[in-house]
């Protein structure tokens, strides 16, 4: 029976014409393959061919950095992050770039964070530990740190992030490219990939969307989100902007604000930070619901002026937003139509078409992952992730799409990001009333 099925499966390709195949899998061939594989391929080839130039560019930037050796302010806002602080300061102590001040803001922790933070401050591991007895939210915590920074650049970190020894140095280099870069995003990878199946899939996802996706978007000039876990900003610009606004999604918001001021945003793949990903699907779902809601809130509502031609109109910002909204929102809804289309038009062939669809995505994932490894600095360690690639199609195509769809509905119709307990209600109410 299996042999019969296999024959049927293989013969499908030969029995159907190209047009019939494209008609059936139009979503894959017209929308996703070019965006997620073609661009990746071009960019990887470009990076490989351009290695020598890039090397020279980085060398020059490094010279300038060390000649100036500016003081930088590393800020770490957070709540109940005390348990991560010792690891964090140790990770920072190992950095090749050492002219930094470390400011940790405790946003109303109700665990032992204040004790740990004060102790580390007393012993000189933290330059400034500032505590708010009343929780104000991540944005206000980051802004409090910002108020007392002295450095020329600000590096914003999550407390549970750890770094390669040269990460801080690397994230500063783009500021010395001489290209009006206002902010630089770090390359976040998953540290606990081996903890669970869920975190392993996220490790692959991060490599795909962050390591590769952001290289592509930065090369296209449409890079639009600097992860809160590891990002660097010019202090003068961020202070001019008044710091972060209320979240969730404040990291994407601040990046857009930089772009609106005309500054370039750069993704630095060599500035690697490792973070812990959720180890179970319920937690992951909550996190992704939050992230996806912020897309509607910030990309469609708050910064809707990006789409309107005017004196501050910027084509790249426009493309960046359109690409983001198209692929993450519009195509997400379209995908359900695509599934419906497959089901209705291939009712008798579903047993072949669905596996075929899955198979094609798997092939794409394998190729894409191979491209990622070609430019990854720790590709040997990441090789074993190949084993989990077959699951990615279900993770990306079904699980994530479902989460995103749910999030968009909730945000579009019920503004549910303003009710997210991630932010204190007192600030969310204000943000809602002021359409922030």
């Amino acid at each position: 029976m299996f042999v019969d099925y296999w024959e049927y499966f293989v013969n499908y390709w030969f029995e159907k014409s190209y047009l019939e195949i494209i008609r059936t899998f139009w979503y894959f061939f017209i929308l996703e393959l070019p965006r997620f594989l073609l661009f990746d391929f071009i960019i990887v080839i470009s990076v490989i061919l351009n290695r020598q130039n890039l090397k020279t560019r980085y060398q020059k930037a490094r010279k300038l950095l060390w000649a100036e050796m500016p003081l930088i302010s590393v800020i770490v806002p957070g709540k109940n992050e005390g348990k991560h602080l010792y690891k964090l300061v140790n990770s920072l102590k190992e950095q090749t770039y050492f002219n930094y001040e470390l400011i940790v803001v405790d946003d109303g922790s109700d665990d032992e964070t204040p004790l740990i933070g004060r102790d580390l401050e007393k012993n000189g591991y933290i330059d400034k530990f500032v505590r708010n007895d009343v929780r104000g939210g991540k944005a206000s915590a980051a802004n409090l740190a910002l108020r007392y920074t002295k450095g020329k650049y600000i590096v914003h970190l999550d407390a549970d992030t750890s770094f390669d020894r040269d990460s801080i140095e690397n994230i500063l280099l783009p500021f010395f490219f001489g290209e009006n870069i206002g902010a630089v995003g770090g390359n976040i990878k998953v540290r606990n990939a081996e903890d669970s199946f869920c975190s392993t899939l996220q490790a692959i996802e991060y490599l795909n969307t962050i390591s590769m996706g952001r290289i592509v978007s930065t090369e296209l000039g449409i890079y639009r989100i600097i992860s809160g876990a590891f990002g660097a900003f010019r202090t003068d610009v961020i202070k001019r902007l008044g710091g972060w606004d209320i979240g969730p999604g404040l990291d994407g918001d601040i990046t857009v604000k930089f772009r609106k001021l005309g500054y370039k945003i750069h993704f630095e793949p060599k500035a690697v930070g490792l973070t812990n990903a959720p180890t179970n699907f319920p937690t992951l779902s909550k996190q992704r619901l939050r992230w996806s809601k912020s897309l509607i809130r910030f990309r469609i509502r708050k910064h809707s002026d990006i789409y309107i031609p005017g004196k501050n109109f910027n084509l790249l910002n426009f493309i960046s937003f359109v690409e983001n909204v198209t692929y993450d929102v519009i195509l997400n809804f379209l995908w359900w139509f695509y599934i419906l289309d497959i089901v209705i038009n291939n009712m008798r062939m579903l047993a072949i078409v669905i596996p075929l669809k899955v198979f094609m995505y798997m092939i794409m994932d394998f190729v894409q992952f191979t491209l990622i490894l070609m430019i990854s600095e720790r590709w040997k360690k990441e090789l074993k992730l190949y084993l989990y690639l077959p699951a990615m199609v279900f993770y990306n195509s079904y699980y994530m799409r479902f989460i995103r769809t749910m999030a968009y509905f909730k945000e579009i119709f019920w503004f549910s990001s303003y009710k997210d307990p991630w932010n204190p209600a007192k600030t969310s109410i204000k943000a809602f009333r002021n359409k922030l």
Binding site: R131, G136, N143, G242, T427
Partner: protein
């Protein structure tokens, strides 16, 4: 009826008990050396500062017959000064000797029990003084609050001997007294003292942990809910309004528009901000910056004399550490002290003069050990010589290398001659017997007067020889 005694203002109070009770009014003419002549003093409180000084002089004396004298303060008004209350034996508002006679008699009787002791012995004399003071009047030793005292509390009788600045000695003496169970301690208060010098004069202050500056100001942080801006209050103040520097909105209502989640410290004149100042206690006496946790904790007690304390007051342990070897015709050193005290009492009531002499051999322990048993024989020979060459009325005592001779009814000059003779003879004796060692002989004499105090006389004799 008052009777003039020493001057127009030192008056003997007539009484039925044949007691020398005097009223002191003019403190300028008050001579403390004459205090041993009296049985009790009544100090007029009209000139309160002078009265207090007189009380301090009397109780601060190292001479037992002075500091143990019953002392009353005459005042119509209530006296609130705790030091006076502690140092005086009572406050009276009229001169009624009946009321004080019993007390005076009791003190006298207890003083008679007190055994003389060698002031050179390794004992805490201040403790003995406190014990004797407490014992002689059954007095609970109460600490008194005093902002002039280095730890803020003092035991007046002790403080007068040690001074207000000597925290260590006060602490040590009280500790010794309680540890040896001479006093039963009853908790009164807990003090925190400088870890370096034990001073209680501390300035608690908040310091910047990095620069140690105390020039700090604090400011509330304000968090504007709408735009998430957060900064010190001064960032928001525009006239009498709060305006957010980020979004220019007016903050009207705390809890609705904004809150104040914490406080920030600022080192004035610098760009240094921090939240957690360190609390330090700077000692105003020695300047030491104490960590608050490093302060010395010291409990202050009321001290009630115990039976052990009574024993110690009467005969301090260790006061016999100087070996008393009794030779024929010689009495022990402590008995000699008693005789001397009686002799002083006798001199007070008679118009005759007595004298006392001391002859001391300058023998080092090295010489003593080299001489071995020979030294004992030499001492015996010298003792025999002194015994045979002094009047039978003379009282003799020996302590280590010293020979004390009390010459009753003998003027100083005569005593001097006798002592010189004995000294020459002893020098000769030593020359003949101890040729291989150089032993010097020193001598000194003192007149015994009505104002003499036996312990002072003995100490004075020893001191003059040691300084010779």
């Amino acid at each position: 009826m008052d009777q003039v005694q020493d001057s127009v203002t030192i008056k003997r109070i007539e009484n039925d008990y044949d007691k020398e009770i005097v009223l002191v009014s003019d403190y300028d003419n008050f001579d403390i050396k004459k205090v041993p002549l009296y049985d009790a003093l009544i100090l007029d409180f009209t000139e309160r500062d002078k009265c207090l000084k007189a009380i301090r002089d009397v109780r601060g004396s190292g001479i037992e017959s002075i500091y143990l004298i019953p002392l009353f303060v005459l005042s119509i008004a209530e006296i609130k000064n705790q030091e006076i209350i502690e140092l005086a034996d009572g406050v009276i508002n009229n001169i009624q000797t009946d009321s004080i006679n019993t007390f005076v008699e009791n003190v006298k009787s207890k003083r008679r029990q007190l055994k003389p002791f060698n002031m050179n012995a390794e004992i805490n004399k201040n403790l003995v003084k406190m014990l004797r003071y407490s014992y002689s009047r059954d007095k609970l030793m109460k600490p008194v609050k005093d902002r002039h005292h280095i730890i803020g509390y003092k035991y007046p009788i002790l403080s007068l001997s040690l001074g207000d600045d000597n925290a260590r000695m006060q602490i040590q003496t009280v500790h010794e007294a309680v540890e040896k169970e001479y006093f039963k301690a009853e908790y009164v208060d807990r003090l925190h003292l400088c870890g370096n010098c034990s001073s209680g004069f501390l300035n608690y202050k908040e310091l910047d942990p990095e620069t140690n500056s105390s020039h700090l100001e604090t400011e509330n942080l304000i968090h504007h809910f709408t735009c998430a801006y957060i900064g010190p209050e001064s960032d928001f103040v525009r006239g009498d309004q709060y305006i957010c520097p980020k979004c220019n909105k007016t903050l009207r209502h705390i809890g609705v528009d904004y809150d104040k989640p914490s406080v920030m410290y600022h080192v004035v004149g610098s760009d240094r901000y921090f939240q957690e100042p360190v609390m330090k206690a700077e000692c105003m006496s020695c300047g030491h910056q104490n960590e608050v946790e490093g302060l010395q904790q010291y409990d202050v007690y009321n001290l009630a004399l115990t039976e052990e304390g009574v024993e110690e007051a009467i005969q301090p342990k260790g006061s016999q550490s100087v070996q008393d070897v009794v030779y024929s015709g010689f009495i022990t050193y402590s008995t000699f002290g008693t005789f001397l005290r009686y002799e002083i009492e006798r001199v007070k009531t008679s118009s005759r003069n007595s004298s006392i002499g001391l002859i001391r051999l300058n023998v080092t322990s090295k010489i003593e050990s080299e001489l071995g048993t020979r030294y004992g024989k030499i001492i015996e020979e010298i003792s025999s010589f002194i015994s045979n060459n002094t009047d039978s009325s003379c009282i003799l005592s020996r302590s280590m290398h010293s020979f004390f001779i009390l010459f009753p009814d003998t003027p100083l000059e005569k005593c001097q001659m006798k002592i010189e003779k004995i000294k020459s003879a002893i020098t000769e004796l030593l020359k003949n017997n101890v040729k291989d060692q150089n032993i010097n002989v020193h001598s000194t004499v003192r007149e015994i007067t009505p104002t003499s105090e036996y312990q002072t006389v003995l100490n004075d004799l020893r001191a003059s020889i040691l300084n010779d």
